[in-house]
Symmetry: C2
Subunit: 139 residues, 2 copies
C-alpha cells in the first residue's frame, strides 16, 4: 500500500493513495499553517474510527441488525512533552436502530478491536485503547 504526499504551500500538503482519493492536510497558524485541512494527528484518529466503524457495521449487517444511525467518537490523549504520541485512545460507538441486540454490538466491537481493524491493530502497540457503546432503541 502506497501513498504520495506533496507540499502545496506553507504547511499545506495533499496526500493521494492507491484508491486515488486526495486528502488535504494543514497545520494551525500557530505553527505556520493556514488550517485549510485536517491535522495529520487528527487524520490518524479518524482513520481509526473509520476502520473500526466499517468492521462493526459490516458485522451488524451480517447479524441482520436494523441500524438506522451509527456514529463513532474517538478521543486521543497525548503527553505535552516530546516525544509525543497517543498514549490513550477511547472509542465510543453509538448505534441507533430497531431491536438492536446488545450482544451483537458487543461482539462486533470485540471482533473489530481484537482482530479485524488494521489501524487499531497498529495503534494498540503504542496506545491503550478503550471502548464503550451506547445503543439507542427506536420505536
Amino acid at each position: 500500500m502506497k501513498s504520495k504526499i506533496k507540499l502545496v504551500e506553507d504547511m499545506q500538503f495533499v496526500g493521494v493513495a492507491d484508491s486515488g482519493h486526495a486528502v488535504a492536510m494543514d497545520a494551525p497558524p500557530s505553527v505556520g499553517g493556514r488550517n485549510t485541512g485536517s491535522k495529520p494527528s487528527e487524520l490518524l484518529l479518524m482513520a481509526f474510527g473509520g476502520c473500526t466503524g466499517m468492521d462493526v457495521i459490516s458485522i451488524l449487517r451480517k447479524k441482520k441488525q436494523d441500524v438506522t444511525n451509527f456514529e463513532i467518537n474517538v478521543k486521543g490523549e497525548t503527553p505535552e512533552s516530546h516525544p509525543r504520541l497517543f498514549t490513550n485512545i477511547h472509542v465510543e460507538y453509538i448505534v441507533a436502530g430497531k431491536n438492536i441486540s446488545e450482544d451483537a454490538v458487543k461482539r462486533a466491537i470485540e471482533l473489530s478491536l481484537d482482530k479485524y481493524c488494521m489501524v487499531g491493530n497498529t495503534l494498540n502497540k503504542a496506545s491503550k485503547i478503550t471502548s464503550s457503546y451506547k445503543i439507542i432503541q427506536e420505536d
Copy 2:
C-alpha cells in the same frame, strides 16, 4: 483531541475532527463499499507522511534551505493473515531546491522520526519504520 465519524451509507463514513475539516472514507466494492473516499488504512499512511513532512519542511525552512518542491512517498506492508497491521513502513523524502544541504535534510528527517512526529512516534511501536531521501539540486 477528538473526532467524530458518522456512517453516511453503505460503507461510506465521514470524519470530522477538532479543526473542523471533513474527510470521507470508503471501502472498495469487494467489501461492500463504493470507493468514494480513502480507505482508513491509506489515511493512516497519509497522516504519517503529512506529519513527518510538516516537521521536515519546518526544519529545512529554519535552516534557510531554498526548497522548491517536496514530496514524500510512504509505503506500508502488512501480512495477509489476521490480525493484520502495518509491520513495515518505508518513508522516502524527495527534496528539490537550490544548494540543498544533505546534512540539513538528514538531520531534519532524524529529528522528525526520532522526536517530533507524533504519528510516527505512535506507529513505530507497531511498525519497523525505515527512511530514505533523494535530493534534486536545481540550477
